[in-house]
Subunit: 256 residues, 2 copies
């Protein structure tokens, strides 16, 4: 009998989030699922790893019939520890999410959900990060599950391109079915940050990050456009960050 | 009288690291320097930001004659808070480092030093991350300071390309002068991770990340090659992570 494909599931909202439960439901029909996820929310952790401190891993009984572990570290720590110390064979697929909140455009850099998928790609594992453009933990994920299954089926069937992962964003769930899937590029965008300065009860000052998202890209081939038009966006994400087009220009600089 | 260019200095090793002192020394001749740096080591924090917690900022008197602040957050937090709440005008340049330890190849993704520079690029500020390929806090930075000045002078003189920052790595300091500057691409490489599993005094288990770096790239146009051949490597780094070349292939997949 052929072995079922091994599927590693992680996220950044912690194993307690409804989104990871939805993702497990989505991928369960495709293989043997193992979960290694953060034990607390790790949103905005980007590609952070734990280098000056220890990690702990606890077996948990959170998902019926599914082998699962909570890890004290970041999403990228979860992926590394899963591969080296938890999984008994090489996973055929890594899925991360479903994140509560969008990870389109430049948010790919801040997102722990997506960094877990990027780490999977660095390990040579077909990897997909999924995010829903709604923060509420009560948001319906039914349509997202349907489309996650379409994408996972295609990823397991097609030839997964090397050295990259997929960034999938689902439009905010609603009573309107999604319009389909669009392969996109990451939109140009900007966070107009501001900090709210407050006084603590002892008279000291502290700051809370707030910010306004500014879409700056009028292209119809972007993830932001796709989501706004009720499509599921799929962006191939690479970990070569070299701006190859700029090398020639930098060679014209005088350095003395 | 013309205003001197404003230069924002940050790092990920904290304001106490010798590397940031060396970088301040390197850039002081070029303008007015303001430092906003982490109050504790933030290595490996990647592009993490603080979203579920508060930040604090303290004026410090660590560098003679230099306006400086310690921030409780990550390197990217330092950049955001500097721009929104500390600097009174727009910086002409952001420099990050000098990191104690290499940030070549895929390490650009894990590096807090480089993520600060990437954040500067996202803000439209000419930004450069500097790293020395030696971990020791006692490592000589004299040759690195000389070359940092060459690169900063060129960056302020030349037309800094939009939507990217520079990743500069200095060979381990030695008695041999550097061979020059090479504009490079990020080398393909891999971390063969392993975790050392230990028992705590209470009988519980915990893990320490260890790992072996594997250069997998034989190219002579990479940062790893340059450093190994005693050149200062300069890689242009972009924050568009789209794998544009893969979009056509993904459009051939069947999603139903």
């Amino acid at each position: 009998m052929e072995e079922k494909p091994l599927i590693l599931v992680t996220n950044d909202d912690s194993y307690r989030a409804p989104g990871i439960r939805a993702l497990i439901e989505a991928v369960k029909p495709f293989g043997e699922v193992v979960v290694v996820a953060p034990d607390k929310p790790q949103s905005g952790m980007g590609h952070a790893i734990t280098v000056g401190n220890i990690l702990r891993l606890s077996k948990i009984d959170a998902f019926e019939g599914i082998e699962a572990y909570a890890c004290t570290g970041t999403p990228v720590d979860c992926v590394k520890l899963a591969i080296t110390d938890v999984l008994k064979r090489r996973p055929a697929l890594l899925v991360s999410g479903i994140n509560h909140g969008a990870n389109h455009s430049i948010n790919v850099l801040y997102s722990g959900t997506m960094s877990a998928a990027v780490e999977g790609a660095m390990e040579g594992i077909p990897s997909i990060g999924f995010s829903l453009c709604a923060f509420e933990w009560e948001a319906s994920m039914e349509e997202a599950i349907t489309y996650a299954r379409k994408i996972v089926a295609a990823a397991l069937r097609g030839e997964f391109p090397p050295k990259l992962c997929l960034n999938v964003n689902f439009p905010k769930s609603s009573h309107v079915p999604y319009a389909g899937i669009k392969i996109c590029r990451q939109a140009e965008a900007y966070w107009a940050d501001s900090y709210e300065k407050r006084q603590d009860p002892m008279g000291g000052h502290y700051y809370w990050l707030t910010g306004m998202f500014e879409g700056r890209d009028k292209g119809t081939d972007t993830d932001v456009w796709a989501i706004e038009n009720n499509y599921v966006s799929v962006v191939p994400v690479q970990f070569d960050m070299t701006a190859h087009h700029a090398i020639a220009h930098l060679n014209t600089w005088q350095y003395d």
